[in-house]
Symmetry: C2
Subunit: 125 residues, 2 copies
């Protein structure tokens, strides 16, 4: 049983120098904040565009102490094994903890939806 243990979740996308690339992530955030309070969730990018995780942390109220970072990644490579943990270590302090979650690509419903999307391309409709 998972309790609602986080004061805030930062969605973390890879980032791109192409502004068009950001749109689906911005749209995802907008849809989620239609269902949960806006002060519960933010969107940051690991590299190549802003805001960064640090930018987001600088805007969060000080009562957001227990913060999760949820990677909008399909899989864990060097970025999620090394780069992001290092970054989170430098951003953790006595006022807040930062927890790196498993990537969204691990979620069984997301996996199932991807399988369905692939099969739909191969099945006459």
């Amino acid at each position: 049983m998972q309790l609602n243990q986080y004061d805030h979740i930062i969605l973390l996308a890879h980032g791109s120098s192409d502004a068009n690339w950001k749109r689906p992530f911005e749209s995802l955030l907008a849809n989620v904040t239609g269902d949960v309070s806006k002060d519960k969730v933010s969107l940051a990018y690991m590299e190549l565009c802003s805001p960064s995780i640090e930018d987001i942390l600088n805007t969060l109220p000080t009562d957001k102490k227990n913060i999760a970072v949820y990677p909008l990644f399909f899989a864990k490579g060097r970025h999620l094994r090394v780069d992001v943990p290092k970054q989170l270590e430098t951003l953790t302090n006595q006022y807040r903890t930062l927890t790196l979650l498993e990537p969204i690509g691990d979620n069984p419903e997301v996996v199932q939806a991807m399988e369905g999307a692939i099969i739909s391309k191969l099945t006459p409709s």
Copy 2:
């Protein structure tokens, strides 16, 4: 109405130098080929690891003429707007056509599953 117009679909993931990164994609392929014929779908990587799209094409029977490339990407940036189309152009010939599909992150069920995954992290269970 979309007909089953492709002889074969190549799933295209970004690629990584970290072998662990490939596992969820390999697992996705294995699950899909549990439901559809194995000769209908392959997995390739854009960069940093193999097989490449070209490697896959070299192994396909010659009756696979109408081939789709389905990007396992969340969003379209430079890779899907420039790099991959250029690559596909060089790989198209009189024996086969290669069609680049919109990325899997555009699929409404995938988007909905991601929203659900995010909201589940914020909701007591």
